[in-house]
Amino acid sequence: MADAAIIGARRSWAWLGIVPFFAFAMLFLILPTMQIVVGAFRTPDGDVTLDNVANLFQPSIVAAFSISIRISLASALLGCLIGFAIAAAVTIGGLPGWIRGPLMTFSGVASNFAGVPLAFAFLATLGRLGLATILLRDWFGINLYAMGFNLLSFWGLTVTYLFFQIPLMILIVTPALDGLKREWREAAEILGASRTQYWRMVALPILWPTLLGTFALLFANSFGAVATAYALTGSSLGIVPILLFAQIRGDVLQDPHLGYALAFGMIVITGIANGLYIWMRSRAEKWIK
């Protein structure tokens, strides 16, 4: 009885601990961007309306959301897989320890190498007159473009996105891999588990919530990325951020309220993605505790 009262009392001021974060988020994230939410439901004259949101369901915008989600899923998935492989190689894969430091710092820089410089780097390497394309053609006789490769395509953009997705994965998953205690592997070995069994039944379940969380981060990261797509496939790819920018920026009079509705739509999709991730993670965590 007394315990319950104490726990109740403790819980009531536990909320205080979260106040700095919420104050920070309120003052510097949520309030300044309320304009999006408010603007999404207003006409240029200031009346409240649902038209902007209703307009989101026209075919061209639905297609834009669809392709945005697909690219984000593709780059997040590949980023997770490849990033995990590299991070695992460096932490528990038996590679020399001195590789880790430079890899981490390099990943830090590469994680933010995006936009025009990245698009240009890939054009200069894998474009039709790119360095790699020409070298492959002249030294190895492999003509990439004749084989159907095209940098300016869905997969070309995904490959370009991976340049900042993979390092992000590496940086975030490495501490988690560090947390895989050696004792667990040894214990599993003693009990006769093969490497596959160890991974399937011990390591992956432990890492699963982290992997899911990082996947969600990579998805949102790619979903919001616009500068690279714009610079690389500017007039061909109709992803949502580009559409958004066409409405609220640019040199032609557009409909900023549609832009706000688009941004609102992106926030909703991020919320849904986050919700899905939380649900999957809670299911995974149930039998770890």
């Binding site: 474009g127 500017g234 007039s235």
Partner: protein, 367 residues
């Protein structure tokens, strides 16, 4: 605290001076007012666009008591208006004083009350079609759309829009912007439509889209946004660009690679940009001084050096104040004879056609 108060006081003083009727201020009063303000904030002025780098340097040299804040050179016209709106209550250095926006944005800004009317001393020499009678906005320079060609990659230069469809220009042609958002790119589509025989307005917009659909199907269109870098590297050997950008791009590349700038034989579209002073400018006197500078012969020649045709070009040529070297550096005047200046109505009819139809008609869409 004291610093903040004195700034507010001076801003108030500046506003009080600015509240006087525009014509009542002499240059000396303007300079005195600007001296009190001490600062000018510009936005969206890349240094390589129309030689703005030198124009700003010239202004700073003439009025050394003014600091020039340059905000966001990457801003589009919509960004500039948004900056004015967001800074309505702000007198800090983030609030732009002067704007340089696309033609259709002038009236739009005026309608929203974002502009301060002002008539420069050379007002009468600005053509009537490109200025607001009350002085809210006024044309500043224009250029025509041209092809910038990388001569290392393209040996035989195209001379007209129809040429671009030829097979030797496979994977070569790019616009310098996104045709759903960039004035330059949309007018590029429009120009192609005019060359294909479209009537001014929405019809040319549609014919332009059909042209680009054909260009894309032929495999000649590259959806990358063309810049000096991609032009030189070879990803976009032909860029459809304002002639002033193409010429200044040719200069910065300095023969590496050699660039040829060709104004197409048909479908020559001229684009006008307009200047305006922000209604909420914290430094209205400095802003007016800037306008006087830009519309003086000195300022106009500064733009001409950047290959832009200043709005008072015809007047200055008639008075013989344009140096011959500058005239020679421009594309031949004959190319400009056929130039079409789209009116506001034609542009507003054509814009939604192009921006709305690009994805579905041209279908350069990636699957």
């Amino acid at each position: 605290m004291l610093h903040l108060k004195s700034t507010t006081f001076l801003a108030g003083l500046g506003l009080a001076i600015a509240a006087l009727p525009a014509s009542a201020q002499t240059m000396d009063e303007l300079i005195a007012g600007a001296q009190a303000e001490g600062m000018l904030t510009t936005i969206a002025l890349p240094h390589d666009w129309c030689g703005y780098g030198d124009v700003i340097a010239g202004f700073k040299a003439k009025y050394p008591f003014l600091t020039v804040n340059e905000l966001n050179p990457d801003a589009g016209s919509a960004d500039e208006l948004e900056a004015v709106r967001a800074n309505k209550d702000n007198t800090g250095p983030q609030a732009p004083d002067v704007l340089d926006v696309g033609f259709s944005f002038g009236p739009a800004a005026q309608a929203e009350g974002l502009t301060l009317p002002y008539k420069v001393s050379t007002w009468d020499t600005i053509p009537d079609e490109v200025k607001d009678p009350d002085g809210h906005w006024y044309g500043d320079y224009y250029g025509v759309l041209s092809f910038a060609i990388n001569k290392d990659i393209v040996t035989e230069s195209p001379t007209d829009w129809a040429d671009l469809l030829k097979p030797e220009f496979a994977n070569s042609v790019a616009l310098a912007g996104d045709p759903r958002a960039s004035n330059q790119a949309i007018l590029g589509v429009y120009a192609a439509g005019l060359a294909a025989g479209g009537a001014a307005g929405a019809d040319a917009g549609e014919k332009g889209l059909a042209y680009f659909a054909e260009l894309n199907k032929a495999g000649n269109f590259v959806p990358v946004i063309g810049k000096a870098g991609t032009l030189a590297q070879g990803a976009t050997p032909i860029v459809i660009w304002w002639d002033y950008n193409a010429l200044s791009g040719r200069d910065t590349l300095n023969g590496n690679p050699p660039i040829e700038v060709v104004v197409p034989a048909t479908g020559v579209v001229a684009g006008v940009y307009v200047q305006a002073i922000s209604a909420y400018a914290p430094h209205p006197n400095a802003a007016k001084l800037w306008m006087e500078y830009l519309y003086s012969d000195e300022g106009q020649l500064g733009w001409l050096k950047g290959y832009c045709h200043p709005i008072r070009f015809n007047d200055m040529v008639a008075r013989g104040v344009v140096p011959q070297e500058l005239l020679d550096a421009l594309p031949p005047a004959a190319a400009y004879e056929a130039a079409v200046f789209p009116t506001l109505d034609e542009q507003s009819a054509m814009n939604p056609v192009v921006t709305g139809g690009w994805d579905s008609v041209v279908g350069a869409n990636v699957q």
